[in-house]
Amino acid sequence: MSESSPATQAAHPKDYTGAKLGMWLFLFTEVLLFGGLFILYAVYLQRYPEGFRLGGEQLNVWFGGGNTLVLLTSSLSVAMAITALQRGRVRQTMGLVGVTVAMAFCFLVNKYFEWSAKIHHGIYPSSPQLKELPAGEQVFFSIYYLTTGLHGIHVLVGMVMMGWVLLLIRRGKVNPEDYVTLENAGLYWHLVDLIWIFIFPLYYLIL
């Protein structure tokens, strides 16, 4: 990537408020992206309450619950990492960001097994078995795969981002004096967690 001229960089310290404002605006757009799927969920739930109930009963609450725990822990660790860096404990920060990356990985492994089990039972979009089911259940599983799939992509992106921040901390580019990159990555990670906190009850618990 290119840099603006060195003189500009030196003369103008980073605008922290601006950087965080930008991140919050970006997070709005992510909420709205998932908002489209939640609207579809609401409309089709109203149309097919029975099909959604039958579909929801087939989801394994232990997989979902486990992943909820994993994500909540990772949000805790990233919040602790930010505080640790503010207090100048760089090694501890790296450890905590490392925990976050590991948790994200656990989430994806868990999701892999959950999806594999479903696909093994012949339930996946446009599978012959799914086409036999009533319309409500077909719609339910389509939305389920789209929402959790899109969320899974976000977990992956967040994991890569956290790994990249870890590298920046190791190189000293993110340090106790200049930690807005870690804060913004943390905000993104909290959003990924937050969206899951809506997905989990809507798909696994209330149906």
């Binding site: 290119s2 603006s4 605008d15 930008g22 970006f26 757009t29 099909g51 719609v139």
Partner: protein, 540 residues
């Protein structure tokens, strides 16, 4: 930066290459003016492609029956014309090109808040555009769904819709990043003394636009992703045989695409609002009303999407509610039109090319807006829905509005960027032919539409021949005007007389720095002491 060079030299930011050579000084530059020019030339190139496609469509429709193309080719042509014009020209046109060129200077900033993100936005735009063009020549051939990608056809057609939807997703992402960047810039980087009530109204319009970009575009993102998923893994969410509902697609699509109309028109209104007071030599009438009406249009325009669907089979209650809400958008729009006219009233008017284009804008946009009310009222919409009346209406709004404002901005601000002036006489000729051709071209469409000719059709009944031929002749006059305008502009910018720092006598900040501006826009950080239209306090 090299302070001495920018003060003494006449070439300003053009000289500051940032240590790179050749094309790298452009495509890797983080200077907002260079990125603005990148956007300007890319949007202009796509505008020309769109014009040629439109011309081809009009040629096919010159006479009833099959003339030049097969029906399949015709469908691909109008889809391309729509996709290119909407996603690659009109939406990024004014905000990304002229917003980038002018907005940071108007508020006294050295650059946008995130210069590298700005460059990334242009790269995403370029990648999306290349993908859109690739989709024409690969796989099943050019998409033939219309720019709206309506289901079920967009799911069933064997043409290359999947790649096109991904391209639209990436271009949308580019728009989100530009909007986000502008919001942070306007909030954080205003020069000392630049209070909210001293911001030039073009920047105010960009601010309102940026909110719509950030809040509406993600919905388009998810919508085109759903089409993609529907085609690739067969999710069936919009397929009635599997429990889905195609009307849901239309809702999601228009939740973005109606607000997108305001992404297109708000910056255009901003351009006109900045131009009129300068050429009437009067402070703009009702500064606050215009600033707030931009936000009101952005707000009201975001809740009217379903008026596109009054014949799609919604409940009567929904139709009435959306019809009423649609009328509400007319109020802030009319506030602006009245304020422009009031600014001109008893002004000391200089009929220079930018003002001529701005006047055409007011005239054509008003016709577009008023015919919009005909479409917004459910009863009349049932009659004219999906006829050529709609095509005429939205060309009046999109081309007569946004297009003419783009040309006005080009005549107004490019001398600032290049430091050279074009020929006034040729600009007037170009403007006159363009406006005359425009009215002949699209007014004929509205008339033939009221007579009952449906839109998107490859062929028509012989009784519609006269108006179609008139329309096609209008397209030739319009293209002649375009050619004269572009040749004049670019000859002037390369070889014209030096324009001087303030050729039009404007009071806003961009006219207080040299033409072309230095790399960081001002030699000294400006201190703002008066409003952008306070010509007396600016000593003009």
């Amino acid at each position: 930066m090299n302070q001495a060079a920018s003060v003494s030299g006449q070439r300003g930011f053009w000289d500051a290459s940032g240590g790179r050579r050749g094309i790298g000084t452009w495509v890797f530059s983080t200077d907002h003016k260079r990125i603005g020019l990148l956007y300007f030339y890319s949007t202009l190139a796509f505008f020309c492609v769109g014009v040629l496609l439109g011309l081809a469509l009009r040629l096919e429709l010159f006479a009833p029956g099959a003339d030049l193309f097969t029906p399949q080719q015709y469908n691909a042509l109008f889809t391309l014309h729509g996709v290119v014009m909407i996603f690659l020209f009109i939406i990024p046109g004014i905000p990304a090109a002229f917003g980038n060129l002018v907005m940071p200077i108007q508020i006294g900033a050295e650059d946008v808040a995130f210069p590298r993100l700005n460059l990334l936005s242009w790269w995403l735009y370029a990648i999306g555009a290349i993908m859109a063009l690739t989709s024409l020549f690969t796989a099943g051939g050019a998409p033939d769904t219309g720019w709206t990608f309506y289901v079920p056809f967009s799911v069933r057609t064997t043409t290359n819709v999947s790649l096109a939807t991904l391209a639209v997703f990436i271009i949308g992402f580019s728009g989100i990043l530009t909007g986000l960047n502008f919001l942070v810039t306007i909030h954080r980087l205003r020069a000392p003394g630049m209070t909210w009530m001293r911001i030039p109204l073009f920047t105010w319009a960009l601010y309102a636009t940026a909110w719509v970009q950030v809040l509406a575009t993600p919905v388009l993102g998810i919508t085109v992703l759903l089409i993609f998923a529907e085609r690739v893994i067969g999710t069936g969410l919009f397929d009635p045989t599997r429990g889905g509902d195609p009307i849901m697609y239309q809702h999601l699509f228009w939740i973005y695409s109606h607000p997108a109309v305001y992404i297109m028109i708000l910056p255009a209104m901003g351009v006109v609002t900045d131009i009129i007071p300068v050429f009437a030599r009067k402070p703009v009438f009702g500064y606050k009303a215009i600033a707030i009406s931009s936000l009101a249009i952005a707000g009201a325009g975001s809740v009217v999407w379903a008026h596109h669907m009054v014949t799609s089979g919604m409940s009567d209650t929904a139709v009435m509610v959306f019809s009423l809400l649609t009328f509400l958008v007319a109020i802030p729009s009319a506030i602006k039109v009245f304020n422009w006219v009031a600014t001109l009233y008893k002004g000391s008017i200089a009929l220079d090319p930018p003002l001529l284009f701005a006047l055409s804008f007011i005239f054509l946009f008003s016709i577009g807006g008023l015919t919009g009310l005909v479409l917004g009222a459910a009863a009349t919409d049932v009659h004219v829905h999906d006829t050529y009346f709609v095509v005429g209406h939205f060309h009046f709004v999109m081309f007569g509005g946004t297009g003419f404002a783009y040309f006005a901005a080009m005549h107004y601000w490019l001398p600032k960027i290049y430091g050279r002036m074009y020929s006034r006489k040729a600009a007037v000729w170009g403007w006159a032919l363009l406006t005359f051709g425009f009215i002949v071209l699209y007014m004929s469409m509205m008339i033939v539409g009221v007579e009952g000719m449906p839109r998107r059709y490859y062929d028509y009944l012989p009784k519609f021949t006269f108006w179609n031929q008139l329309s096609t002749i209008g397209s030739w006059i319009l293209v002649l005007g375009l050619v004269i305008m572009f040749v004049n502009i670019f000859r002037g910018l390369l070889r014209g007389e030096p324009a001087g720092a303030n050729p039009w006598g404007g009071a806003s900040l961009e006219w207080q720095t040299s033409s072309p501006p230095p790399l960081e826009n001002f030699d000294h950080e400006p201190e703002v002491t008066h409003g952008p239209y306070d010509f007396r306090k600016a000593g003009l």
